[in-house]
């Protein structure tokens, strides 16, 4: 996290305001932290939302994690009828499990890995991500490098993640340019016959649902 007061960038207000001398540790309020504070307090004072709204929204953000997506994947592995619904209308199927994509004004598409096709998701234009199911995106997903190279050289990027795929497996990259958010349904690992949904859920990693990893295999 950068911690600078470089006036080469645009401020929404005029030059001439003073910044305190910059201290040399992370606790200093950088310009952007002050900006966040100022905007939030002004909007609360204007009644746009309340401090409680902010607190509750932060809590909701914190409550979302890859566990959500893992539950969906595990259920799809365990229940063929649910999987059929998921592949037909992922938004509706996930709504049935309590994930309201409409709250983020988006729809969900699930793309299934097979022995012939490996799916990988990116947003080259910004950082669209299925937050409803996975929580906040990892820093690498938002990085300029991932956004530029995932479409250009997906196999090289996968190698950086430790995943090498043979040529007979086609790599299918999804660039999330519109109102759809993509979730990869990884292949069910071998030697998991008879596993409960909870046991299956434990094998589903965040990266396997983005497409930079496979699901974990049982030891």
């Amino acid at each position: 996290m950068s911690d600078h007061h470089d006036h080469a960038h645009d401020h929404p207000h005029e030059a001439g305001h003073r910044h305190p001398p910059q201290a040399d540790h992370d606790d200093t309020l950088t310009y952007y932290r002050k900006l966040e504070m100022a905007v939030r307090e002004l909007l609360i004072a204007k009644g746009v939302f309340s401090a409680d709204d902010v607190r509750k929204t932060v809590e909701d953000i914190e409550s979302r994690s890859p566990e959500g997506g893992a539950r969906v994947v595990a259920r799809a592995w365990a229940d063929p009828e649910f999987k059929r619904q998921l592949m037909s209308d992922a938004t509706a199927a996930c709504a049935g499990m309590g994930f309201e994509m409409a709250l983020y004004d988006v729809k969900l598409a699930v793309v299934e890995n097979t022995p012939e096709v490996h799916n990988m998701v990116v947003c080259t234009l910004c950082s669209c991500y299925p937050r409803m199911l996975l929580g906040l995106p990892p820093a690498w997903y938002k990085s300029l490098a991932y956004r530029s190279r995932a479409v250009r050289e997906p196999r090289a990027v996968l190698r950086e993640f430790g995943l090498e795929l043979p040529d007979r497996v086609s790599v299918r990259v999804h660039d999330s340019t519109a109102d759809l958010r993509y979730l990869v349904l990884p292949m069910r690992p071998p030697r998991t016959e008879g596993y409960s949904e909870a046991q299956l859920q434990a094998l589903v990693t965040r990266d396997s649902m983005i497409g930079t990893a496979l699901a974990r295999t049982p030891d």
């Binding site: 080259t124 050289e153 790599v171 990259v173 340019t177």
Partner: protein, 104 residues
């Protein structure tokens, strides 16, 4: 669907070959630069959505635009693509950025 929709049916069908318009447009565009002028195949019609190019400027984005998932062969997108022959990239593209196309 809302009252403000465009054509009653999408212009393109799954399996149809299309080409992305080779246009350099200012404003807020959700058709990535790397796919302009490339041809691909409609993987599916996704639905009708408000136009983000208009929404970005506070306008209504109506009438709705048809959105498609279009599949492109990576070897056709990048001159020196280093992956496998079957590798593809799927992109969600609005109808007004597409035109019919005969040859790949």
């Amino acid at each position: 669907m809302t009252v403000a929709q465009a054509a009653a049916k999408p212009a393109y069908a799954a399996g149809e070959r299309v080409r992305v318009r080779q246009v350099d447009s200012p404003g807020h565009i959700r058709t990535p630069h790397y796919i302009r002028g490339k041809s691909g195949v409609i993987e599916r019609f996704v639905g009708y959505f408000r136009n983000p190019e208009e929404l970005a400027y506070g306008r209504s984005g109506q009438p709705l635009r048809a959105l498609y998932r279009v599949r492109f062969e990576q070897s056709h997108v990048w001159p020196d693509y280093g992956g496998a022959a079957g590798d593809t990239v799927d992109i969600d593209i609005y109808e007004h950025w597409l035109q019919g196309c005969q040859e790949p």
